[in-house]
């Protein structure tokens, strides 16, 4: 059963309604601003990713070309037992051609990696700077797929014209 509110009850009701309204409005505004901020950053981040993506996709032809080149040029290992020997022979031939003294060659067993099968060869050299540079220039060309995995060159303390080198090189064959 309803009855008319007294003026004090009305004032109290107005105050309570005002507090509820203000509180509700505050929560709404707070929720709105936080959601808006989250959405704005989502949109900004998404747009940034899209821009980078479009830039990358703009180079897709280049990467397609490189992929095709890799597939065409990367050597395929036919015989794991002879691959190391072939690499050693090649290096020895180059050393002879450029008058670089090759010492202590060691062939490592083929190593299967995610992108390639590496056949490594360790050796030491002794030569002046100039033949060594020519040797290195001939050793590494793109179509040979030879990487120098580590190198240490040191001037001979007794003869400053001679350079001692310790190399670990590898030919990277296409993975199976």
């Amino acid at each position: 059963m309803s009855r008319t509110l007294s003026s004090r009850e009305k004032i109290l009701a107005v105050i309570v309604a005002g507090i509820v309204l203000l509180g509700g409005t505050y929560m709404l505004i707070d929720s709105y601003t936080s959601k808006r901020s989250a959405l704005t950053s989502r949109v900004a981040s998404g747009k940034k990713q899209l821009r980078s993506l479009h830039e990358m996709l703009g180079q897709s032809a280049l990467w397609e070309q490189r992929e095709q080149w890799l597939q065409a040029k990367q050597p395929h290992m036919e015989n794991a037992d002879t691959a190391g020997v072939q690499l050693h022979d090649g290096v020895r031939e180059l050393a002879r051609r450029y008058a670089v003294l090759l010492e202590n060659p060691t062939i490592r067993t083929p190593e299967h990696r995610s992108e390639c099968i590496a056949v490594a060869l360790e050796f030491e050299t002794k030569s002046p700077w100039s033949p060594l540079v020519e040797f290195l220039e001939a050793l590494q060309t793109p179509e040979q797929f030879v990487a120098i995995e580590s190198v240490n060159l040191k001037i001979d303390p007794a003869d400053a014209t001679q350079v001692h080198g310790r190399f670990k090189i590898a030919r990277w064959y296409a993975p199976k």
Binding site: L39, L53, M56, L136, S150, I155
Partner: protein
């Protein structure tokens, strides 16, 4: 600027109940005031005509003076004659005639309690009239100008006898009789009272409403004036009396303020709602935009993955196929930065994670210059180059060591 004038709606007491009028057009007739008020259209100004029975109607002879002073005298008269406090009385008067020494006024007053039954109806409807006047004032305003007229009519169950002078009520009496027989018995004594009160009785005509037909004989025996039918009386704006009680006035003001606040509240709610809708729309649009961007990203993801896998494969093999990463290329770059022939390397290391050179220079200045040349070289900019301060050797040369991380 044009200002719209609200329509005026009136409620008048009739023999058969209450009539609702819009300006001078009768819209409805209702048996009770509650029903009549419910039939009022929304909006517009309201005016309410009171029947005579709850009113104290007096014809007073007062000294000739200004209207303000007359008002004071009439007020004094009510206070003396009526058993109510002055603030409980709602009253007004009209000047009927003004002589050299005296003024005749007709006053109508009511205790606010006696108007309670009407006030309750208006209160329940939450609407209040702007003007309240006796119905006889509307009848008087409908009489011919300059004539003294005897009017007999019915207000619901009450018969009313009124004398109108020049369209103003001059003397009014609510009869106890409500039929022709009773009228015939009561009317002669009323005329005697009228005579004693020195009210003009030389009527130019007698007007009878349809409900009191049957008493013509009595009237003809009392007056020579022609008896005519009272036409339908429309509300008049010239009634000249306003009996609006202070409580009604305050309630009307309160109601008006309430309406104003209600409109403001509705406006505020509309603004609030507008902002809520605008906010929700904004969030919705942003959400849609974010979804659209993410959808596009998802659609491109397989292409991106393929591209990234190609990049990763190429980069993993770059030490073997990218000439810029060959040892001889690095040696060339390191060599071209040497400031003089006297500066030379003594040791060089290269591994996938970093390279290192050790060398000697004739002075620390040249060693430092070499380092700064390395850092400035654009082709070495992809390397993070650092060096310790040069170390002076026993032969006065400076030994330096530089470390680079691709």
């Amino acid at each position: 600027m044009k200002r719209t004038i609200d329509a005026l709606y009136s409620i008048l007491p009739q023999a058969e109940g209450w009539a609702v009028w819009s300006e001078s057009q009768r819209l409805h007739i209702a048996p009770t005031l509650t029903e009549a008020v419910a039939l009022l259209p929304l909006g517009g100004r309201l005016q309410f005509a009171l029947p005579c029975h709850p009113l104290i109607l007096e014809r007073l002879r007062l000294p000739a003076t200004e209207r303000d002073e007359l008002a004071g005298m009439v007020q004094l008269q009510w206070e003396k004659a009526l058993p109510f406090a002055p603030e409980e009385i709602a009253g007004d008067f009209v000047v009927v005639a003004t002589g050299e020494t005296e003024t005749v006024v007709w006053s109508a007053a009511a205790a606010q309690n006696s108007l309670q039954e009407f006030g309750d109806v208006w209160s329940k409807a939450n609407r209040w009239p702007e003007r309240v006047e006796p119905y006889i004032c509307h009848i008087a305003a409908a009489c011919p100008i300059g004539e003294t007229v005897l009017v007999i009519y019915a207000e619901q169950e009450h018969w009313v006898v009124a004398i109108v002078e020049d369209r103003r009520p001059s003397w009014v009496h609510v009869m106890s009789a409500s039929d022709a027989e009773g009228f015939a018995a009561e009317f002669p004594s009323l005329m005697l009272t009228v005579g004693l009160d020195r009210v003009p009785t030389d009527f130019r005509r007698v007007l009878l409403s349809a409900e009191v037909l049957g008493c013509e004989e009595t009237l003809r025996s009392a007056s020579q004036a022609p008896v005519e039918a009272l036409p339908l009386v429309a509300p008049s704006a010239e009634a000249g009396i306003n009996l609006l009680p202070t409580y009604w006035r305050a309630s009307a003001r309160h109601h008006r303020q309430g309406e104003v606040w209600k409109k403001r509240a509705i406006f505020a709610a509309a603004v609030y709602l507008f902002f809520m809708i605008a906010g929700a729309t904004d969030l919705f649009l942003l959400q849609r935009q974010a979804s659209s961007v993410e959808k596009e990203l998802s659609a491109q993801r397989p292409t991106l993955a393929l591209l990234q896998s190609r990049q990763a494969r190429f980069n993993a093999l770059s030490a073997a196929i990218d000439a810029r990463r060959y040892t001889v290329e690095l040696l060339y770059l390191l060599n071209r930065c040497l400031p003089e022939d006297t500066v030379r390397f003594t040791e060089f290391d290269q591994m996938p994670q970093q390279w290192r050179i050790v060398g000697e220079a004739p002075s620390a200045t040249l060693a430092i210059e070499y380092l700064s040349r390395l850092k400035r070289d654009p082709d070495l900019s992809g390397n993070e180059i650092s060096a310790d301060p040069p170390r002076l050797l026993a032969n006065e040369r400076a030994q330096f060591q530089v470390i680079g991380k691709p």
